[in-house]
Subunit: 165 residues, 4 copies
Amino acid sequence: MAVTHGFLPHYTVTSHLCSMAGFKQFPEGMRHVHQLRVRYADTDRMDMVYHGTYAAYLEAARVEMLRDAGWVYAELEKAGVLLPVVQLNLTYKRPARYDQLLDVRTHVVAEPTTKLCLRCEVYHQEDLLVTGDVILVFVDAQSGRPCRPPEGLADKMHELGLIAS
Amino acid sequence: MAVTHGFLPHYTVTSHLCSMAGFKQFPEGMRHVHQLRVRYADTDRMDMVYHGTYAAYLEAARVEMLRDAGWVYAELEKAGVLLPVVQLNLTYKRPARYDQLLDVRTHVVAEPTTKLCLRCEVYHQEDLLVTGDVILVFVDAQSGRPCRPPEGLADKMHELGLIAS
Amino acid sequence: MAVTHGFLPHYTVTSHLCSMAGFKQFPEGMRHVHQLRVRYADTDRMDMVYHGTYAAYLEAARVEMLRDAGWVYAELEKAGVLLPVVQLNLTYKRPARYDQLLDVRTHVVAEPTTKLCLRCEVYHQEDLLVTGDVILVFVDAQSGRPCRPPEGLADKMHELGLIAS
Amino acid sequence: MAVTHGFLPHYTVTSHLCSMAGFKQFPEGMRHVHQLRVRYADTDRMDMVYHGTYAAYLEAARVEMLRDAGWVYAELEKAGVLLPVVQLNLTYKRPARYDQLLDVRTHVVAEPTTKLCLRCEVYHQEDLLVTGDVILVFVDAQSGRPCRPPEGLADKMHELGLIAS
């Protein structure tokens, strides 16, 4: 059947984007889940995701975690708060493959101070592929010095159950 | 209010992922729309998306176009058909910025032969930022030689109204 | 023989870095040659350099061409002149492979105005792999508008024989 | 003065490539030094090298360390030995900036077994910017299982004084 424009729904369903993401309760605790698709650009000749690519995956995941919690990182920057990474520890258990739909589960592992300590776990379906511990520092863009987290952020993380006790 | 696990919806809404994507009719014709978020990793010190990053954006978009049309590129590869890029022409009109939600609109600009000729347009809202013309070649993985497109692909592209006349 | 520190030369030879680069006369004209090594990060699962990677290769090459001609792009930026890419046309003839030492040959294809039009050719030994035409625009960082090239740049390009006639 | 081809040296000097690299004795011990230039592609909008970029920097450095020690990693792969990264711990002390010439100093921090444990330090001149601990595993490509390091590799690392005691 040829598509006639008058009858075509404005948008067709694209299940690959309407992903099950957001905050979710797991047996081990509350996690934010961000879903992403492995691109060709992300792979290397060993036919797996290049180990350095995960830095960008984790970045995308934590930005969405903050957004879903109510903080848009781009807005934070405009307000003069930067959040550079000061430590990144990645452990590679199993390779991720091209075109896989990965879940990055993120939670907070310590009370936010000037530092935000995150644990990220990259899953393909039920397989844990990579774990990443990321430490970021809230920095005042003007002074260049560490500063407190945005008002209410720690409370919100607690409220969401995202901070591991 | 503290989140009690029993009452928490399994997943909370994440509007940023449930994007308006898929095939869509525009005044200028039918387009496949793929939506993506600009990551920090994608930017450069000029505070815009690095011009080389668009290669990966366009790749992600055409893979979803093929998927939404019924062909999973990863499956094509397993079946012995590769689809390398032989030409990429990018024209940069306006910069894309960090955290913007971009729409990549893709359509086919010529009858598929051994070549697949795509036109991609990267929009932020109503602003056209970048156009990209991509020529890919269907290649038989065994012989390394150009080959015909998968059975039914050209027909499907016509049916979807994706091929510019 | 064990290396004893007292006898070890301060630096051992590293032929891979002391590359034959700079301006060089070819039958087809004068070219700037920049040599680089393909990293694992640059490859994809098709066991070749990802097609988007060449944007960074060409960028590295033209920055060294400018440096060898007497202009440090980083200094230009500090002086308020940006040089964004407005067009990039890449044609892929043969794949580049992991660990290959590639030569990027660059020359100027038109009299520099507010635009700088470059032709780049990526070689592995005698094999031409990729050609890239890049158009950049000199932009005044303050006004955001196109501006003239730095004083003396066009003359120097002529003097070096880099501008194709 | 116009360049006349007959008088032009075949190659002009390009000091930026003839870098001081290879094995070098430091007060704290022997190190392999790999020098690289920060590209625009490597930076992000915070005007520094994106934190994920260092994975590729460290990869380039260890491949050159192996090459200078007598092992070409690409040849190892052809011989059926892979060397995937299983752990990467990065600590960011100071930002690297566009166009800086960075030294990556690498040494071995434990007797090579099926694992190769490296410590990498990224310097700009005398400033230590980033430290990276990388654990790689020698893997038999056929069986997919960990295997011994190539014959003679551990001895050579000792001979070079590269293994921290």
